[in-house]
Amino acid sequence: MKNAFPISLILQIPKHPDEILSFTKSALAEIMKCKELDIDHQRRIKMILVELVTNSIKHSLNTDSQIKLIIDHPSLTIQKLEKGLQIEFTSSEQQIPFEEIDKTIKISFSKENKHHIQTLDKYKFKFLNPFAEGLDIEHMPEHFGLYIITLASDSFIYQYDPESKENRFTVNINT
């Protein structure tokens, strides 16, 4: 029987790092009940899930963070939904809400965690390829989570809803 796409699944994010591996395996198993994936896509999905969940455990005090899977054809969307304050950059010419839209800017979350982003609207931006400027060991970051999600996905977008105070990280993978 053919699946009727899209299929949506909501998963509660675990609270402890030692639960990440089992969470990731069961999330991937749920996706693969709905659609076949080659080994490359399976690996990319596992990396993205590990890093979204790790990011939540590291940074969020909220206990109700969720992963929403939207399984469609030919794409898979993984969203992490978290209530709380919006992302703030430690260094940037702009902060959310952005004044200039469709502009590429350099931001950082810490000395070793720098990114290029493209502003999409006042409360929304897209992470860009982190290797545009090249990397060497001297300038190599020690925080790879957002890089990994950006590199493993076809698009990685952050959005903040000021009314509901919800942070939404949306990852798309062409499957």
Partner: protein, 113 residues
């Protein structure tokens, strides 16, 4: 973090084996401290085995980068062995395979020193 350490006989190479299935956020800081301490006490040639590790996360990659940054100014060398296909893929994705020396096994790793 549960690791085992030994000096490879007939060499001055330290072999560190990670005795955990998950090299993640809950292990990375402790692991980094242990190895940085070894480097500050004179360790310069280090092999780390991932043969027991099923997955590595970004926090642990960061710890490995910090270790390499500490080692290189002392003309030290770090070789990683026993990485499964998922972990090798992660190194390739992040281009860390261009920075770290990755080898299949101990024999190949020793030849690097």
């Amino acid at each position: 973090m549960n690791i085992s350490k030994r000096l490879i006989s007939g060499t001055d190479v330290d072999m560190i084996t990670i005795e955990e299935k998950e090299a993640n956020l809950s292990q990375s800081e402790h692991f980094k401290k242990l190895i940085l301490q070894d480097i500050r006490q004179g360790s310069r040639k280090i092999i780390i085995s991932f043969s027991n590790v099923e997955y590595v996360d970004s926090s642990f990659l960061g710890a490995l980068v910090a270790i390499l940054k500490e080692l290189l100014p002392h003309n030290g060398k770090l070789v990683l062995i026993g990485l499964n296909d998922d972990i090798v893929n992660l190194f390739q994705l992040t281009r860390l395979d261009k920075i770290f020396i990755l080898k299949n096994d101990l024999d190949a790793a020793i030849k690097e020193f």
